[in-house]
Symmetry: C2
Subunit: 444 residues, 2 copies
């Protein structure tokens, strides 16, 4: 029988998620202590304002307004960084890792921005960094990627990983309301990050995709190497046309890797997903990730992507893993050895060129309403050797303009960039055409 250790869990940031973690951990404390054979304590919690009224009641004396005192408290072995942000949070995380402590977080923005530096600190100082909650809320995607499906290499990972965008798109379609109208509502419900560009322009999803891409392929992808588009341009009309063509529009994060050529790509964009696919049916704040593995085939995980409890569930899962690691003096997650192996894996990867990234595309082209317009439009496609699969053209009664929507056969990003530029240059085309990707998995 091993000696029973006491493991102290400290919090930096004690908002919605922090309180959720505290509450649920406390509720299950006895069960967990029995199962793990350790004692759990909560020695110190750093908050902005000690006197603020909170939903959970913590013992007197554990609250502090000095986050560094949580890091430095010898009784704290696991630091839950749940304050958010990328500046101070980084300092505290680094300080804790340098002391060889465990940091558990949901802070995807910080990992995206400073992940390499933080991982270097893990390798150098022997601390540990757990971040299951940073991607897809309650879905245990990082554990599944690294452990459950460890036998696999992933040619593609596609996910609905921003609940806010999924909520907005789902409601637009269900209620026939405009983007602006639903966005207003989502904001009033607190579903949108304060910096709304994080959600609406795809950056939050991109941060998550970068984390998954690193874990799957060992390569850090920067925004210069990726296609990141948000949902602001998507209209109700596009949703109706997508449905006419047999699709629904979702914001997806897409990670592809060609193991023959070494080419990989990471993108976040609104995509048309075939109606009969599971991803097309994941609505509201739910997240979903589809993994195409070379051994397991297709695996799909669906779950709550955000919110106090969903995030708490993932944070607690990390805390339990960390407690086992501390108990046994042997952490499983992202050790120095893992990080080195991961880097080596990344050496065989290179970013795909725009010629290599292929898919079907959807276009919405706004044209003036004159005879012969369509000939000019179709010519651009013909000259670029792009086949058109479906077209719906419609007029706008009372206005001298029409809209052409179409779905193409597979072609490359490079060619479609040329096509849209040439279309835009046509005198009959009124504005830059909207270009969306059509997601069709090849393995199902």
């Amino acid at each position: 029988m091993k000696e029973q250790k006491t493991i102290g869990i400290g919090f930096i940031g004690f908002g919605t998620v922090g309180q959720g973690v505290w509450k649920h951990l406390n509720a299950q404390r006895e069960t967990l202590e029995a199962r793990l054979g350790v004692k759990i304590s909560f020695p110190r919690i750093a908050v902005k304002n000690i006197n603020r009224k909170r939903d959970v009641v913590v013992p007197a004396g554990v609250l502090t307004d000095d986050p560094m005192s949580v890091v430095n408290d010898p009784a704290v072995t696991i630091v839950c960084e749940l304050m958010g942000g990328t500046e101070e949070a980084k300092d505290y995380t680094l300080a804790a890792l340098k002391l060889g402590k465990v940091v558990v977080t949901a802070n995807k923005a910080l990992i995206y921005k400073s992940g390499r530096e933080l991982f270097d600190a893990v390798s150098k100082f022997g601390g540990h960094y757990y971040f299951e909650a940073s991607v897809a809320g309650a879905i245990p995607i990082i554990k599944t990627l690294r452990e459950g499906l460890v036998a696999n290499r992933f040619a593609s990972i596609a996910g609905i990983i921003n609940g806010t965008c999924n909520y907005i798109l789902s409601r637009m379609e269900a209620e026939g309301k405009s983007y602006e109208e639903i966005l207003e509502d989502a904001k009033s419900l607190g579903y949108v990050e304060q910096d709304d560009s994080l959600d609406l322009d795809g950056w939050d999803a991109f941060h998550k995709a970068v984390i998954l891409a690193f874990l799957a392929h060992g390569k850090w992808v920067s925004e210069d190497d990726a296609l990141v588009e948000g949902i602001r341009q998507v209209t109700l009309e596009d949703m109706h046309r997508a449905r006419d063509f047999g699709y629904r529009i979702k914001l997806i994060g897409m990670i592809r890797r060609d193991f023959k050529t070494g080419a990989m790509s990471v993108g976040v964009y609104p995509a048309l997903i075939p109606l009969d696919k599971t991803l097309a049916r994941v609505d509201g704040v739910y997240n979903a990730i589809k993994l195409s593995g070379d051994v397991a085939g297709t695996t799909i995980l669906i779950g709550r992507g955000a919110g106090r409890d969903a995030t708490s569930s993932a944070v607690i899962s990390d805390i339990v893993d960390a407690m086992i690691g501390i108990r046994d003096n042997a952490h499983k997650f992202l050790t120095k050895q893992d990080l080195e192996a991961c880097k080596r894996l990344g050496e065989s990867a290179r970013m795909a060129t725009m010629d290599e990234i292929c898919s079907k595309f959807y276009l919405r082209i706004s044209v003036v309403d004159e005879p012969g317009i369509l000939v000019g439009v179709y010519n651009v496609f013909a000259q670029n050797n792009v086949s058109i699969a479906r077209v719906i053209t419609y007029e706008h009664p009372g206005e001298r303009r029409g809209t052409v929507t179409m779905a193409t056969y597979p072609t490359s990003e490079a060619i479609m960039e040329k096509v849209t530029a040439e279309l835009e240059a046509l005198p009959q085309v009124r504005t830059k055409p909207l270009l969306l990707r059509i997601y069709e998995s090849t393995r199902e």
Copy 2:
């Protein structure tokens, strides 16, 4: 830097799955060795016939026809029991556990039959037993249940966990063919276990449900305490009527626990699932499991439920976990402590009575074609206080009989047992009515 250990993996049984594991592990050997910091060897493989031609070529001298020599080989630390069956397989497993070795398996029938004895051996002799592959193929359900969603208690776990039945039901519906016709096809494709009752009568799904129920609630459920029904009674007509009512029919394993009363239930049966639910859309050999957790909310996992590669993926995941456990001399999965905690958890559980297990029900009642028949039928429901939600009654032209299909409001198993008995006793009712359950989750 820890000393680099060599970990020997032995096989008992080297059929489809064994060869798949060997092949994929070999393909990834270097990557895994780098990542884990261990050396992997395959010292010994027990087969029935050494001279049989195989898809994979193994080094000379490792094949043996004596399984016990794999168990006893000092170079073998991990024994993959992939022979199947519940007699010999048990002997080898016990022998390996008694030597403190790790056994990895997909053998759900053995775990169902002898799990308690095998777990006792784990507690007593310090060996380890890993069985991710025993439930839902490539889906990492055991890891998700025990680790990824460790923060949760599960009021319900519902799963499509028998790929063969799902394949048969999916094809019946898609092609409008009879059960017998598709079954024949499934058999010729090798999709049905030799003892076809395992698949078709729900026993295979039940074994898996029992494993999940134990891991989630600490209680071993025997077949006397469970409702186990297969798919033999389900006709195309039922599928059409189900669709008219807004459902599809799937064979599901259902584990419910009421944390207030301590009542739990385990059942396997064909159930009507609302058309708009994800589970209703999982077709073919795919498996899916929906977990309703008190912290994470609903999480759904979908993936390949059987086949060489899907099972290999899960077996390799266990092997990797076991290798880390051996490397660090600290296994995470189902330690003595876990097993004790699990048992304690089970102490607060009791099997629900038939009065406590409630759902909506679907009935198909075959009646003679005479005036006044329906009055008698409806009277039975009225007298038992069961409300009827929907009815479709139809004649069979040329025959003097009709069929009444209906969906009820929620009521208990006990009451429905009484209702069906009373219906059967009516002179106008020709045979015992078919009774199916309607699955509707309460949390979404």
